[in-house]
């Protein structure tokens, strides 16, 4: 069967599965809608958390980032997994014991203040929308790559699917579809990785393959060979980074703390029956995440090795078909600067910006581009990083069904994350803004309806952002983690561990942490991108890592303000005492 037909079949089957699950698990109450009834098995919840967590970026982009950044890419591996240790140890069990529905619920109740709740809602909505626009874009890209559908149409189909199971099923529908999506995405990610590892090293386990010798008879290790090849071409060695140590340190810490403070991740731990289950569930989530995250470095390194082998110093006329296929898709390009008909892959960009094809063919048969060549670099090849994972099955000549599987996997990753984000946005509107702040008399039925309306509105906004991505989206992904690290994490952490933290301290801390981080990122990313170099950064910390300083400011301001304002009321101190003790969690509290 043709690959294209297989892609349609795989994607259609996976969609039918998600919709079937959605019909089976319709939400009947607000508790079903917000926390799936609070009775989800910890292993199941761990798997759903993993799908929720691993977005289109993890599935499609991470291995590409690792391939092109080498050691520097480690910040994402450690940053996006280490946060689960903080979650399991410091937040999840206590928030589950607290037992309400949303993150602003906890902040509003613990700091006995509507202002604190509203500040938390603002942080949450900002963080979640930044994130979700990227997911809808990911859906559109997968559709356009594999199904030859326009990006706009792809986004609309994705919106339709998410609408069906997120609006009907709420958290309950999302949880069980995410389990199915996890299975699809992990299978799709690991199968080509096993083939690839076996193909280069004779060892099918990618984690071991990356530490093994190449099977070309030379007896050199994969990483050693890759280091040598890259250094010869003028790149940094793969196992050596170019970022400064303080920057690597701060980015990793900001990503870890940010992960622990992301509302759509935290809220998943409200769905398990008991506080002790929240700990277990975080552990399982990390096991399921690690299954992909420990393979990604191997996929990245193997992909880089293959790419150099099959592209650099190869005559265009002789290049394998994967190159021309991606060139036709506009994601690879070659500009024959020295006119020798041979492709040279070197450090630096081949030309400014993304390729602009003129529609003509050059002397060697390549698609001609009109971009001005970058005279400072001998590089002639443009490769879109995000193609690395998708191109791997083709580069390694894997069968058509593996390619089809990748399409279904990429969609599963993007849809599951989008649904989780939509849910926290809608519940923060219906529960925190309407029920708890502005219209406390709303009935349970009215609240459920409001949640569904809010979810629908959020899907439409997310879809719009996916179809017309504002230029800043890609620039401000750092926002989501930095802001979560600087605002929500410290407020929740101190809410549990510092009984004396009061409302004045917490609000002042959140506002100052958020304000500082927001201004720093906005200055370097939006207002003055030209100044975005290590020399002008505070302590040499890039905007990606500045959340760490924001977090320190939050802690310092909060503790300072709390020390000379009124102490926390007795009932709040009792609340903190009760969430520290696992006994008596029982049902999620309904109000």
């Amino acid at each position: 069967m043709e690959t294209q037909t297989l892609v349609y079949i795989f994607v259609a089957l996976s969609f039918a599965l998600y919709i079937g699950i959605a019909i089976w698990s319709r939400a009947g109450s607000t508790k079903d809608f917000y926390v799936a009834g609070g009775g989800v098995n910890p292993v199941v919840n761990g798997m759903a958390t993993a799908a929720d967590w691993m977005s289109a970026a993890s599935f499609l982009s991470m291995a590409g980032i690792l391939a092109f950044a080498g050691y520097d890419g480690s910040v994402y591996l450690m940053g996006w997994t280490g946060g689960y240790v903080l979650l399991a140890l410091l937040l999840a069990p206590y928030l589950r014991k607290f037992g309400q529905f949303t993150v602003p619920d906890f902040i509003g109740t613990r700091y006995y203040s509507k202002a604190a709740r509203v500040v938390a809602v603002i942080c949450l909505i900002f963080i979640s929308f930044t994130y979700i626009a990227g997911q809808m874009r990911g859906v559109g890209i997968v559709f356009s790559q594999f199904l030859q559908v326009e990006i706009t149409m792809g986004v609309i189909i994705g919106m339709g699917i998410v609408f069906i199971y997120a609006v009907m099923g709420g958290m309950k529908g999302i949880t069980y579809t995410q389990v199915a999506q996890y299975c699809v995405l992990i299978f799709a990610y690991t199968v080509p990785a096993f083939f690839l590892s076996f193909y280069l090293t004779d060892n099918p386990i990618p984690q071991l393959g990356l530490g093994s010798q190449l099977n070309d008879g030379s007896g050199t290790y994969v990483l050693e060979k890759l280091d040598n090849v890259l250094v010869q071409l003028g790149f940094n060695a793969y196992t050596d980074g170019s970022k400064s140590m303080i920057d690597v340190f701060c980015i990793t810490l900001a990503l870890m703390v940010g992960t622990a403070g992301l509302p759509h991740v935290i809220v998943r731990f409200f769905t398990v029956p008991k506080a002790s289950d929240a700990r277990k569930s975080a552990g399982w989530a990390l096991v399921f995440i690690a299954a992909l995250y420990t393979i990604a470095p191997a996929v990245g390194a193997f992909g880089m090795y293959n790419l150099i082998n099959k592209v650099d110093d190869v005559e265009y006329a002789q290049v394998e078909s994967f190159f021309t296929a991606w060139e036709d898709a506009g994601l690879y390009a070659w500009q024959d600067k020295n006119g020798d008909g041979v492709m040279q892959y070197r450090p630096g960009v081949a030309f400014e910006g993304k390729p602009e094809f003129t529609g003509q063919r050059g002397p060697a048969g390549e698609r001609v581009i009109s971009n001005t060549p970058n005279a400072e670099s001998a590089n002639e090849v443009y490769v879109d990083r995000d193609t690395l994972v998708l191109a791997n099955p083709q580069i390694a000549n894997l069968p058509g069904w593996v390619v089809a599987l990748m399409a279904a996997g990429g969609l599963a990753a993007a849809l599951s994350t989008a649904a989780g984000l939509l849910l926290v946005i809608s519940s923060s509107v219906s529960h925190d803004l309407l029920k708890s702040t502005f219209t406390p008399n709303i009935s349970a039925k009215g609240e459920l309806l409001a949640a569904r309306v809010a979810a629908t509105a959020a899907i439409v906004v997310a879809g719009y952002l996916g179809i017309y991505p504002p230029g800043w989206v890609a620039q401000v992904v750092a926002f989501a983690f930095g802001l979560a690290a600087a605002s929500l994490f410290p407020a929740i952490f101190m809410g549990i561990f510092f009984k004396g933290m009061n409302k004045e301290g917490a609000v002042a801390g959140m506002v100052s942490g958020l304000g500082f981080t927001f201004s720093y990122i906005a200055y370097f990313k939006l207002m003055n991108p030209a100044a975005n170099t290590a020399d002008s950064w505070l302590f040499g910390i890039s905007p990606e890592g500045i959340g760490v300083i924001g977090m320190a400011i939050n802690f310092a301001v909060a503790i300072g303000v709390a020390s000379f304002t009124a102490k926390t009321p007795l009932e709040v101190r009792r609340l903190v005492d009760s969430i520290r003790i696992p006994r008596g969690a029982g049902e999620a509290r309904t109000h």
Partner: protein, 102 residues
């Protein structure tokens, strides 16, 4: 980790309102001690071995992996899993010991 603000600035009088029993206090102290030691390991595995002492560790290797690079891209993740698993099991024992399990 216990409450620097109130003990430092309001004095012990505050704790009159905190009706925690001696068992609950002992339980919490044991929990925070365990947390601190596990966070030390967390920090050492990722920030220590993977970042701060990477150059030193890179002179050793694990198969084809330079050791510091292995910690940064593989080892730290495995250690994180072990940490959470250990914490879940150990906390279960501590809760049972103080009869506070859920």
């Amino acid at each position: 980790m216990d409450d620097p603000v109130s003990t430092a600035d309001h004095g012990d009088a505050d704790h009159v309102g905190d009706e925690t029993t001696a068992t609950e206090k002992a339980y919490w102290r044991e929990n925070t001690r365990l947390l601190c030691s596990l966070l030390v390991v967390w920090f050492a595995a990722s920030f220590g071995c993977g970042i701060l002492f990477r150059d030193f560790l890179d002179q050793f290797s694990l198969g084809g992996y330079p050791l510091g690079f292995w910690f940064a891209q593989q080892g730290s993740i495995y250690i994180f899993i072990v940490l959470i698993a250990f914490y879940a099991v150990r906390m279960r024992q501590i809760e049972r010991k103080y009869d506070l399990d859920d």
